[in-house]
């Protein structure tokens, strides 16, 4: 274990080891490091106005959990309504408001910030060996912005909702809708600034604050995934902000550029909207890929297969993701020739996605695989993401999309990617880094059960929707012909299982905060700088700046069978 050497031994202020980085000692960051970030300050103010990236990550986690359950409640009502063919629980308008609320909250207030702003915020500086992000106050501001944005959305919810769908298509949103379009759009506009601030912080931190020895190809793939995500956040979000601003002004003043009655072109709005919202799909999946990479390599005790290919795949998904937005507009009045180009490019983006799936699989080959809860979630991710990706090829294909456009096939497709993929990865990451974040171990048996339950519940909910869509059931209707009922009932029953699988971790995570076994610094025997500091980490992350002397994911010696045994959490050593 001499591969990563603390630059200054114990980190006491007088030390000057051979790799000494004297500024540490000079600047007197040393004594206070003994206490963890959780106990470094007391009272509500020390949380609400903290600039510590780890505390901000916790604030984000609590915030998005609240939104997750609001969005989940809307989904519950939707599935209840669809239990019977008749529209008996809510009116058509109420149903429109429900799926709009579900979409807006789940996209902008859960999925987009889910992994980047919680796990990313917490882990990025730790994985890079930095004391904090480059701009800690900007980081705090980004959290406050999403709270303000959330307040707008809650205002909309309380006042009676908005019924445009999360896509806000003009001219319905600008002219005809009776909902609170302006307030909802304003909320998303503000949340956009939060996203941009987070993305900017991550990119600058990754560029300028890597520990000595951590060159670009030693950076953990989770950081690479966050980096690629941040690129999309920065380059796509401003266009959405402008499109929504145009919607708001057009609606308020009655002049505009999207309403055909006023000489405008509604398809222009769709271009602006999907220039953001298609890349945003990758904001919602790339971080999940990063999490899964970390878990798979650790629980297979294997170096990641094809590290550099993984990096290039992440970056090319981020870039090519900007070239395919028109596949959302095949039947929207877009030119057929543009449709052909977009259809072809949508196939192209399947290549880097497939590279990632192959490389995860190749990493498992000859690994000594341990099926703990994080690994179960990660394997679930790989399966569900592959399903989502392959059905993506169906809808990317122009002739098939004409048939399945706006049906449940599309709904099932993107839920496989976002819920089956991203949410599985998020839960996997939460379990994997829970000991690091809280200093406690979660109950493994319960966690494995929850992971399996989520996989089955998810498939039961959304697989029938593929069949529904293929049979022609359109999305966004609150009543339907009775021959579809069996699939809707299956789906709703699956949603109950899925709901239980989401609530279960909430229960045992809370339980573990008080009764869980104390975690050692590195309960999984994992590689990576975040495991080289205490659990939970001290306020400034490391007693002294770590130095990186080994390649990433050094789980087994090159060209030899995998070695090493995973310390099972149930016999994990308590923190020293």
């Amino acid at each position: 274990m001499n591969t990563i050497v603390d630059a200054q031994g114990s980190g006491s202020s007088g030390g000057s080891g051979s790799h000494s980085l004297p500024r540490q000692a000079e600047r007197g960051v040393g004594r206070e490091e003994a206490t963890s970030y959780l106990t470094a300050g007391h009272g509500v103010k020390s949380w609400l106005f903290t600039t510590d990236h780890k505390r901000i990550a916790i604030l984000y986690a609590l915030t998005i959990t609240v939104f997750f359950f609001i969005g989940g409640a809307a989904a519950t009502l939707i599935r209840m309504e669809l239990f019977t063919p008749a529209g008996d629980l809510v009116s058509a308008e109420g149903y429109n408001k429900l799926f709009t609320l579900h979409g807006v909250i789940m996209v902008w207030f859960f999925l987009v910030p889910a992994i980047p702003a919680t796990l990313g915020n917490f882990l990025l500086p730790l994985m890079l060996g930095a004391r904090d992000l480059a701009f800690p106050r900007l980081n705090l501001m980004s959290w406050w912005l999403i709270v303000i944005a959330g307040a707008f959305v809650l205002y909309v919810l309380v006042m009676g909702g908005v019924d445009t769908g999360w896509t806000f298509y003009a001219p319905y949103s600008t002219t005809y809708s009776n909902g609170y379009v302006v307030a909802a759009a304003a909320g998303i506009f503000v949340s956009g600034f939060s996203t941009i601030a987070t993305g900017l912080n991550f990119i600058v931190t990754t560029h300028t604050m890597r520990a000595p020895g951590m060159h670009w190809f030693r950076v953990p793939l989770f950081v690479w995934s966050i980096y690629a995500t941040a690129l999309i956040m920065l380059l796509a979000t401003p266009v959405l902000a402008m499109a929504l601003l145009l919607i708001m002004i057009e609606r308020l003043l009655g002049v505009g550029i999207f309403d055909p009655a006023l000489g405008g072109d509604p398809v222009l709005f769709e271009h602006l909207f999907w220039f953001y919202s298609h890349p945003a799909v990758y904001i919602m999946i790339l971080p999940g890929m990063g999490v899964v990479t970390e878990i798979v390599t650790c629980f297979a005790r294997r170096r990641i297969f094809g590290y550099q290919f993984m990096v290039y795949a992440l970056l090319s998904i981020a870039v090519v993701g900007f070239f395919v937005w028109g596949h959302h507009m095949f039947v929207a009045g877009q030119s057929m020739y543009a449709g052909l180009v977009f259809s072809f490019l949508s196939y192209v983006i399947a290549v880097p996605s497939a590279i990632k799936v192959f490389n995860w699989t190749a990493t498992l080959y000859r690994g000594s695989i341990v099926l703990d809860a994080p690994m179960l979630y990660a394997l679930g991710f790989i399966g569900l993401f592959t399903m989502g990706g392959l059905t993506g090829l169906f809808v990317a294909s122009l002739p098939i999309d004409v048939h399945v456009h706006d049906t449940y096939f599309v709904v099932a497709h993107f839920h496989y990617v976002m819920v089956g993929g991203m949410v599985s990865a998020f839960f996997g990451g939460l379990h994997f880094w829970w000991p690091k974040i809280t200093g406690r171990l979660y109950p493994e048996a319960w966690a494995r059960f929850a992971a399996l339950l989520m996989f089955f519940g998810f498939n039961m909910t959304f697989f029938p929707q593929f069949i529904l869509g293929w049979m022609g059931m359109p999305r966004r209707y609150h009543e339907y012909p009775s021959e579809f009922q069996v699939y809707h009932v299956l789906s709703s029953a699956g949603a109950v299982v899925l709901g239980a699988a989401y609530l279960l971790p909430l229960g045992y995570f809370l339980w573990s905060l008080r009764y869980g076994q104390p975690a050692s610094d590195n309960p999984w025997d994992a590689k990576g700088l975040e495991w080289r500091t205490a659990s939970p980490p001290p306020k400034h992350n490391f007693p002294s700046t770590p130095r990186v002397d080994e390649e990433a994911y050094d789980y087994h010696p090159p060209r030899r069978p995998p070695g090493g045994h995973l310390d099972h959490p149930s016999d994990g050593r308590p923190a020293s």
């Binding site: 500024r23 800690p136 900017l200 401003p238 266009v239 402008m242 145009l246 000489g263 602006l272 400034h540």
Partner: protein
């Protein structure tokens, strides 16, 4: 020395901190390019669809004010650049003078812009509120003026933010509360100011120049 602390605790040295600040600002400027880009795309699409109305509408803009404002903003970029240079050499008086001139020129720009808006109101060129246009298809000319107000309005908001930031930094430099020579504050402020100028450099030919030769 009562030198203010220049180095934040998350950084190792001033070089790293400067690099981070400059990179952060450049990235922010890239997002600004796309922010304006959404509007410019709308401009390009409708100019492509309705060229006649576009040229007729653009001919009615106040080209004298637009040109004068361009000159003012270009000059303010020079004074901003002088402030950064003076900062590197630690010449506090020159810094404060240059920042003062920069803010003043910015305020001049906004003043002229406000007068131009007033003229537009007088000429019934304000979409939605007071719009009458006889020289071409009024519906599409109205889209031009809608984008004109949107683009110049968003630009004016940016300039207002920039002027405020310049005044704050001016105050901090004057009162000795900013280690302006070591920190990247002046450089970063300058980058933002120049961006506001660059945006206007593109708005000028898009708004004031089309259709003049017809």
């Amino acid at each position: 020395m009562s030198d203010p602390q220049a180095l934040a605790e998350q950084f190792d040295d001033l070089g790293q901190q400067r690099h981070a600040a400059e990179l952060g600002m450049w990235i922010f400027l890239a997002t600004e390019a796309l922010f304006f880009g959404g509007l410019l795309l709308g401009y390009a699409v409708y100019r492509h669809l309705y060229p006649e109305a576009w040229f007729a509408a653009a001919r009615e803009t106040e080209i004298l004010i637009g040109t004068a404002n361009t000159a003012i903003l270009l000059t303010s970029s020079l004074t901003m650049w002088l402030a950064v240079r003076a900062g590197e050499e630690g010449r506090r008086d020159a810094v404060t003078l240059a920042l003062g001139l920069t803010a003043t020129l910015g305020a001049f720009f906004l003043g002229l812009k406000a007068y131009e808006y007033y003229l537009d109101w007088d000429n019934s060129l304000v979409p939605g509120l007071r719009f009458a246009f006889e020289k071409a298809d009024p519906e599409h000319a109205e889209i031009f003026y809608y984008l004109y107000f949107f683009l110049t309005g968003v630009h004016a908001v940016h300039l207002t933010v920039a002027i405020t930031a310049v005044l704050v930094v001016l105050f901090l430099v004057r009162t000795g509360r900013l280690a302006y020579q070591q920190s990247a504050t002046l450089t970063v402020l300058g980058l933002y100011w120049h961006l506001v100028d660059v945006v206007w450099i593109f708005l000028y030919p898009l708004i004031y120049l089309p259709g003049r030769s017809q």
